[in-house]
């Protein structure tokens, strides 16, 4: 079992890599299409700008292999910007197209709340979740973002409120996404990653 961590030139890849390896996973940094074709599962980490993400995938010819992996049923976990990239577009970069696995547009947090949404927040479960198995209802997760996908998006299984209800965890078929950073969310975050690893075995 080999997990490809998509390296698109930005992102907090080393933290995600360390967290997964700490749980016993075999990982490699994917910078070219062949590495995605050979992966058992794919992690899309993410910190930075939506436009930089889109450009990073395009420059490395990784967007099409990601879509092919999705079609082939390969498990994909998007983290933070990696979750947002699964949507059609984002207000952060209106001219750029996301991966388009889901039709909604990622929106900016409104101005009546502090933005970026930085810190530890709780989430509200709306559907059964694989990633949240064994995690207490009142657990905290570490968020650091200025944009978010609306909780009304169909794959949402847990929502968080900050300005508007947004998708904190999504699961649909082979796609998984978390708006928080599991690699920075203490033991709770480690459990999310452990659940992901168990779900792909």
């Amino acid at each position: 079992m080999k997990i490809a961590i998509v390296d698109y030139g930005a992102g907090n890849l080393p933290s995600v890599e360390r967290a997964l390896r700490g749980l016993g996973a075999e990982t490699e940094r994917a910078v070219e299409p062949a590495q995605l074709d050979a992966a058992t599962a794919i992690v899309l980490p993410g910190v930075g700008h939506f436009a930089a993400f889109v450009a990073g995938l395009r420059d490395r010819n990784l967007a099409e292999p990601l879509r092919a992996a999705y079609q082939a049923g390969v498990p994909i976990l998007g983290i933070c910007l990696g979750l947002q990239a699964m949507f059609a577009s984002s207000e952060e970069a209106p001219g750029d197209k996301g991966l388009g696995f889901f039709p909604e547009q990622v929106r900016a947090l409104p101005t009546n709340v502090k933005s970026p949404h930085i810190g530890w927040n709780q989430i509200r479960r709306t559907k059964a979740s694989v990633l949240l198995r064994g995690i207490p209802e009142d657990a905290y997760f570490y968020f650091a973002h200025s944009f978010a996908a609306p909780a009304s998006a169909e794959p949402t299984v847990a929502a968080c409120d900050h300005g508007f209800p947004f998708s904190a965890v999504l699961e649909q078929g082979n796609l998984r996404g978390v708006q928080f950073h599991p690699e920075k969310s203490g033991q709770t975050g480690a459990q999310v990653l452990r659940n992901f690893l168990e779900s792909i075995q």
Binding site: V47, P116, I118, G119, W120, S146, E183
Partner: protein, 254 residues
Amino acid sequence: MTLARRIIPCLDVDAGRVVKGIEFEGLRDMGDPAELGARYNREGADELVVLDISASVQGRATFLETIRRVAQQLNIPLTAGGGIRKMEDGRAVLRAGADKVTVNTAAVERPELISELSQQFGAQAVVLSLDVKRSGDSWEAYTRGGRDATGLDAALWAAEAVSRGAGEILVTSIDRDGTCSGFDCDLTAKIASTVPVPVIASGGASTFEDFLAVFTAGRADAALAASIFHQETRSIAALKNFLSASGVPIRMNP
């Protein structure tokens, strides 16, 4: 569902060791940064800050190595800074394993540094470190570790930094720092009411009540302290229990 207030231990680092400045004595060794970082991670810290207080050119490699060693111990966010002069300094700190970088003196001298870092790494990765002294009814920003007055009003400078892309403000009261007389809650409330981003209060923490005050009257989103945690006079767990029992939203389970 509430965004928790954060408790953030700070490691002041010089030549690879955690130090504490003692008046008239110089620096006292407080331990190994990776060991202290691991301890705070275990004890329920919400985040860790590591500051290079020497900020000398020859010490940069040592500081980056310190960040790498500390980051390996953590599964919570890490903020690092001190002596960040240009974009490449920020990139090096983030590549070494920090999630956020703080800027202070260089950003006052050249505010575009904030815009550049924010465009490259995102607002959530850029923290303005604001060292402040009270002057009458307002507050003035200082640079170079609190030595140089800038003539800038602290609240106005914070607002400009946010408009340039800073995602958080770490505000330190120079008047209170090291005095154990409590946070300057008027200062943090002023900054928090001025900028639309989270505010981290620093300087003067001593008692549990100081933290309660800065989260209520001081309107801070996070509170930072160094020596009271290093010396184990106050445990993070006991502080969090106190704050939670006092009605402050706090993350209790690690």
